[in-house]
């Protein structure tokens, strides 16, 4: 009973946050200075009439409340508007970019989680020992690295000095062109090629993330070690290793699951740095370019997609938590 009320409240809160995000998003860009039409109007012999036509076309001559209602209505239909720069629908461009981002970010995050779990468990298990100190130090060191700097250093070493890995894009240009013009290319070759290109960006992401995960896993485990059920299990005569794996670790995974759900949303935004360094044509690079070009509908769209995915992951985390821990009712 209480649980279902909790679920309803979380869903309601998520919807409310989404609405605030949608409105905030609208206002943020409308109220900022800088005329979005100037770029478009700046064409040879561009007349005042051209400019007015553009203003009309994008509804910028309407009162603000009217623009807001139009914006909400279109949003309801999944229409995020037309990009100022290439005049194509924003939604389809965002979806395509998202498809490129997701595999790279997933590979990076999963690697980070695995590393984080290993380092975190080791640190907690060997608490007070030199092993904990070095494991925590390594994690903190990687946490402290600026993302774009690590990316550049990896390019410097693996692409420029050693020449082992490609430094940009997601495909080998020749391979894809050959496929496009009809030369048969095996799918394993394409797969291997994508994997090679994905390696540096996703590893950059993994390295800067895993430190954070390690520290959280360590704290969560250490907290669990203080719980009564661990004491009970120990009192029953179970071996420490068994208690760690069967009882402590599974409970400690709870905050980790939350963290993962949360960071998936965040990473979509945070990957701007990685995607910019490695020219990875995903949503991060799309947002970066859109901001450079003041492509308002595209900025709004990207920002909205990123925010909503965070809200959604947040909700999933809350609901998971409720399911995993029946004590939760607030």
């Amino acid at each position: 009973m209480k649980q279902s009320r909790y679920v309803l409240r979380r869903v309601w809160a998520a919807l409310l946050t989404t609405y605030v995000a949608v409105t905030f998003n609208f206002l943020l860009l409308r109220l900022m200075p800088g005329d979005p039409t100037s770029r478009l109007a700046r064409v040879p012999n561009g007349t005042e009439e051209t400019r007015r036509a553009l203003v009309r076309q994008f509804g910028l001559d309407q009162p603000l409340w009217r623009q807001y209602l139009d914006y909400l209505r279109e949003l309801g239909h999944g229409n995020l508007g037309i990009s100022y720069t290439n005049q194509q629908p924003v939604t389809s461009q965002l979806l395509e970019a998202l498809r490129t981002t997701v595999p790279m970010v997933t590979l990076g995050t999963v690697t980070a989680i695995v590393l984080g779990l290993v380092f975190g468990v080791v640190a907690a298990w060997w608490r007070g020992h030199a092993v904990e100190k070095s494991s925590t130090f390594v994690s903190m060191f990687f946490y402290a690295l600026p993302t774009q700097w690590l990316g550049l250093m990896l390019i410097l070493v693996f692409s420029v000095m050693l020449g082992w890995l490609p430094s940009a894009g997601m495909h080998d240009p020749g391979l894809m062109a050959a496929r496009d013009i009809g030369v048969p290319v095996s799918s394993t070759a394409v797969l291997r090629d994508t994997a090679t290109h994905m390696l540096l960006p996703s590893m950059t992401l993994a390295l800067v993330l895993f430190g954070e995960y390690t520290l959280v896993v360590r704290s969560a485990l250490l907290e669990t070690f203080g719980e009564d059920f661990v004491l009970t299990a120990r009192a029953k005569g179970l071996r420490p290793r068994v208690v760690l794996i069967r009882h402590a670790l599974r409970n400690a995974l709870l905050p980790v699951v939350t963290l993962v759900a949360l960071s998936i949303g965040f990473i979509a935004g945070g990957s701007i740095l990685v995607e910019t360094v490695f020219s990875w044509p995903g949503i991060g690079l799309l947002s970066y370019d859109a901001i450079q070009a003041r492509d308002y509908p595209m900025i709004q769209g990207a920002f909205l997609v990123i925010t909503i995915s965070v809200v959604f992951c947040n909700l999933v985390a809350d609901l998971l938590y409720a399911r995993l821990d029946p004590r939760i009712t607030t």
Binding site: S38, S167, A168, P184, S279, P281, L286, Q292, D325
Partner: protein, 546 residues
């Protein structure tokens, strides 16, 4: 209960990952790999912003149009016009009527006939919609009244006044397939066209695929009416980062870099790649607000103050530091790269800070306790509006140092292009607020465009100076009608000298166009816009691997 929950999540996550992995791999059929087919792999730090000719703005976009659409004429390596889809042409005596004879028996890549009617349709459409959906082509059809196909292979252009640069205008305009565009031509809503690849092509290549921010593939057009290219296709990769692009060439992932930053010359030459340079019509300038009605900091309107600024600039050092020697100096709004249109007697001001200080002293602008001069009761401290340029920061810090030496303080106000434009033109295209700016321009081979940006009529449009001089505007009209090249040149030189005296700009340098390619490739024409350009299709047709 709890444990199984966590377990389920773990398996769920794993399954999701596998699925995501599957999505990313993108199923492709077929076996075996390519061997004999030659593909030219080009890397660029520019981007194709749109495949729609009514939308695109970037130079890579126009270079791509060049090899996928028919054009009436193109440039040769000496910047003279040579036949392309027009085999030959003639002009009436008064210069108002131009007749072109087109290549007979040509087809579009979809099999439809490509002839003089397509030319007439394309230009008529651009004339009709020049104030609306076809605004970006308006400058290329100025004074054009009608275009009619008198038969399948002849088309006649009628102008309402003699136009000096007809061929230069027509060279820029792609001939479009009516079968694709006629539905949009009913409303003029060209910009919303969905450019689904492969596109209908009338040039040596077909745009086969395009991915925003990433890549495009061009395939040789098997039905092309002209000389067919040696290569089977071109792959274009758009890089966000110059270092990544250079690394790609070094690792043999690409064959050609169409525009290389100067910092790439040394490492690529050392690694055994061919690096080519040519003077380009790109110029960087330091801008004074030249609107005589400007209310604040009016000392900056004084040509003497401007001269002092120019004398304090150690431009040779900037060429060495910022462009590593790959730029030239001059003092003309028409870049020397365009050949005979740039007055060779206009040299950049010499570096003479002592004289600059002397000038400012003689104007009575004394230095305050902080070393900054005071002019008419205020410190000579100004904001410099700067769009985000790659070398911008380095350029600015040099300018800042030079001006400090003559007691003038400047601060960089770095913004994006459109905001920079807003700040320069503020308020409402009146040019009253800003003092100084820095910008980079890319000019065309014909001087008309370069000369036009300082016209009074360009307020709120191309003008970035607020300069307005009726005498200059009159000369501009004259050169536009002058069909005799020598006489036109004399007028153009006079205009350039007016600007060199009034100094709305200090020209900081004219950059070289630099490209680099793998030595196993040959056939590239070293033009002012590099081998992949909007001047001609020659390089892409001739390119081949030995």
């Amino acid at each position: 209960m709890r444990h199984t929950g966590a377990y389920k999540i773990a398996t769920g996550l794993a399954a999701a990952m596998v699925l995501l992995g599957a999505c990313s791999s993108g199923g492709t059929g077929g076996g075996g790999s390519s061997s004999a087919t030659q593909i030219l792999r080009i890397g660029s730090n520019d981007e194709i912003d749109s495949l729609n000719p009514f939308v695109g703005l970037n130079s890579l976009t126009y270079s791509t149009f060049q090899v996928t659409y028919p054009y009436l004429v193109m440039y040769d390596d000496k910047l003279d016009f040579v036949p392309y889809f027009a085999k030959s042409w003639s002009t009436s005596d008064n210069g108002k009527k131009w007749t072109f004879h087109t290549v007979p028996g040509a087809t579009w890549s979809d099999g439809q006939a490509l002839d003089a009617h397509d030319v007439a349709w394309s230009f008529t459409t651009m004339v009709k919609y020049q104030d609306k959906g076809a605004g970006n082509w308006a400058s290329t059809v100025s004074h054009l009244k009608t275009v009619t196909a008198t038969d399948d292979d002849t088309v006649v252009f009628s102008y309402d006044a003699p136009v000096a640069n007809v061929l230069s205008q027509l060279q820029q305009v792609p001939i479009l397939p009516e079968q694709f565009w006629d539905t949009y031509a009913k409303t003029g809503n060209f910009k919303s066209a969905s450019m689904t690849t492969p596109l209908v092509s009338g040039g040596p290549f077909i745009v086969q695929s395009y991915k925003k921010n990433a890549s495009a593939t061009l395939k040789a057009n098997p039905t092309f009416w002209g000389t067919r290219p040696h290569v089977a296709g071109i792959s274009l990769t758009m890089f966000n980062d110059d270092d990544a692009m250079i690394a790609a060439l070094r690792n043999h992932e690409i064959d050609l870099i169409e525009t290389l930053p100067p910092s790439g010359i040394k490492p690529l030459e050392q690694a055994g790649f061919q690096v080519d340079q040519a003077p380009s019509p790109a110029l960087s300038d330091f801008i004074f607000n030249s609107n005589p009605k400007k209310p604040q900091h009016r000392e900056l309107l004084d040509p003497k103050v401007r001269e002092a600024f120019a004398l304090s600039f150690n431009l040779q050092e900037m060429v060495q530091t910022v462009w590593l020697g790959t730029a030239t100096l001059a003092n003309s709004i028409v870049p020397p790269a365009t050949g005979s249109w740039s007055d060779p007697s206009l040299h950049a001001a010499p570096y003479d800070p002592a004289k600059a200080n002397q000038i400012l002293d003689s104007l009575g602008y004394r230095r305050g306790s902080d070393g900054i001069r005071v002019a008419d009761g205020h410190r000579m401290s100004y904001d410099v509006i700067m769009p985000d340029l790659t070398e911008g920061d380095r350029m600015f810090s040099m300018v800042q140092g030079w001006l400090k030496a003559i007691g003038v303080q400047v601060n960089q106000k770095k913004v994006d292009d459109s905001t920079a434009f807003d700040l320069v033109t503020a308020p409402d295209g009146k040019y009253l607020d800003f003092d100084l700016a820095m910008w980079t321009w890319g000019m065309l081979p014909d001087p008309d465009f370069a000369l036009s940006v300082v016209l009074c009529s360009q307020y709120g449009s191309w003008s970035d100076t607020g300069y307005c001089n009726p005498a200059y505007d009159k000369l501009y009209q004259e050169q536009g009608k002058q069909l005799d090249a020598a006489k036109r040149q004399a007028i153009v030189y006079r205009m350039e000298r007016i600007l060199a005296h009034d100094l709305p700009y200090i020209f900081l340098g004219y950059k070289n166009q630099i490209s680099a390619h793998d030595k196993s490739w040959s056939g590239f024409q070293n033009t002012m816009y590099g081998p992949y350009n909007a001047l001609a299709v020659t390089s892409m047709v001739d390119a081949q691997r030995d």
